[in-house]
Symmetry: C2
Subunit: 280 residues, 2 copies
């Protein structure tokens, strides 16, 4: 039986005819030269500017994307619970699910403080980092707070390999062991890279380990160069393809989201036609 | 040469004659039965209540502790940049260093967004989770933003062992490899458990790998049952002993901080006397 969060995801995916997820990572000129919000959003009242940016991007992309993924490192130092609520209310009004990209990874009592605040703010799910080893405990606690939990499994940044792909447990790589834990403990899904050292075989392996119904979230398609064909060909049906910078900093995020949606759906169609051909 | 953060730590340690660190993890009745702030701090204006609690605890413990460690999961969903600045200004006015317990672990560009906001807020250092593998990149980026970086190395929660102690890299445990990276890349120190599966030998091993000058932060002394004698006997000189719940929820945090300071300093004295005896 799919979890409550997976049910929400399936509903949004169906209604939007889209697995596109919009990564809300708003950079500012004050700390970055490229990939920054349009200047009208970088105001003296930083909080209000960032909130408006997020609300506008949701508004513009809602017809083409089924999820948003606001990142804590960009938003949490400025926005408070009231602003976070507004972002999630807007996403829900538009029929999207909202996943806070938090990479939470603390001890149980501290994780639960975060779960409480995430539920208060109205998020549907969160991203979780398994370094502390407590996937089972965190999954139970998140579900109690009505939150889905997606576990970092195999990241695409070049530095991730030495921890995540190194052999462990009778020479199986750590990321495969994490995928098994996701399955065993009923977490809602895995987060995987889609570029660099992450191969289609790696993605297929994780999908087979976590089962068909769980979600795989792929960040880093678009600017980070993620491989859309690999993601779709190996990831199974329940996927989310996140596009952040390439979309949110575009002059017209709505148009860009529509292009991504069409490209994704065409790739899915091509993939299934290819499969049919091979069957014959 | 000690890093800028280690210099700040050494100064505070000397001035306060203390290695005590106060963990600011304010729980609320709205999500927890035990370990909650006194009711006068749980106001309708949650933000203002939590801020006052933090400022009051700093005020009361400043004579006996050299550091504070505000935890992001308890504070960041409510407090904004203005309130975080006030906490850090207060800590600095009182001669303490401020370490944000954030367990950051994202890709480079996202980590840097967090570093920017941490510097804006006035923190001296942060805690970092190495799951994404990018210790070197994060250390450089944190130092550019004038922040010390303390890396989770071997945690004390029971679930941590299967990832952190499992053999890796020609059968050495992962936490030892992380300690080597801390040394190689000039991170400011390690975070280690002080209870459960973490032994004195584990602590000695990490100290020998990271070198004498780096800091080891030990969370979880006090309510979590951490072993103070082990920490002091094996941890070396540059340590921080964090006490959170047992101190901040006491009726008199100042008195409690003084008791911890005296107990720690007595244990250090006893340890050195024991060493001298053994030398003779």
């Amino acid at each position: 039986m799919p979890s409550k969060f997976i049910e929400k995801y399936l509903k949004a995916k169906k209604e939007k005819n889209s697995v596109l997820c919009v990564g809300l990572d708003p950079g500012l000129r004050s700390f970055r030269k490229e990939d920054v919000v349009p200047s009208k959003y970088e105001r003296k009242d930083i909080e209000a500017g960032l909130l408006d940016f997020c609300l506008d991007v949701i508004e513009q992309t809602a017809d083409y994307a089924c999820a948003i993924k606001p990142n804590s490192q960009y938003l949490l130092f400025t926005l408070g619970i009231k602003e976070l609520k507004k972002i999630n209310q807007k996403a829900h009004k538009e029929g999207m699910v909202s996943i806070i990209d938090h990479k939470l990874g603390d001890i149980g009592s501290t994780n639960d403080a975060a779960f409480y605040w995430m539920q208060e703010a109205g998020f549907d799910a969160l991203t979780f980092s398994p370094f502390a080893g407590n996937i089972e405990e965190a999954t139970k606690a998140a579900h109690k707070r009505n939150l889905g939990i997606l576990v970092l499994t195999y990241m695409s940044n070049v530095e991730a390999g030495w921890i995540q792909k190194q052999s462990l447990f009778e020479w199986r790589p750590l990321y495969q062991k994490i995928a098994e834990e996701i399955k065993n403990f009923g977490s809602d899904g895995a987060i995987m890279g889609s570029t660099g050292h992450v191969t289609m075989d790696d993605i297929r392996m994780v999908r087979s380990l976590i089962g068909e119904q769980s979600l795989i979230l792929f960040p880093g398609v678009g600017r980070q160069g993620g491989n859309m064909r690999a993601v779709i060909g190996a990831g199974g049906n329940n996927i989310l393809i996140n596009v952040g910078r390439d979309l949110i900093y575009d002059k017209n995020p709505g148009k860009k989201a529509k292009e991504y949606q069409m490209e994704i759906n065409q790739t899915i169609k091509d993939f299934h036609q290819e499969l049919e051909k091979q069957k014959k």
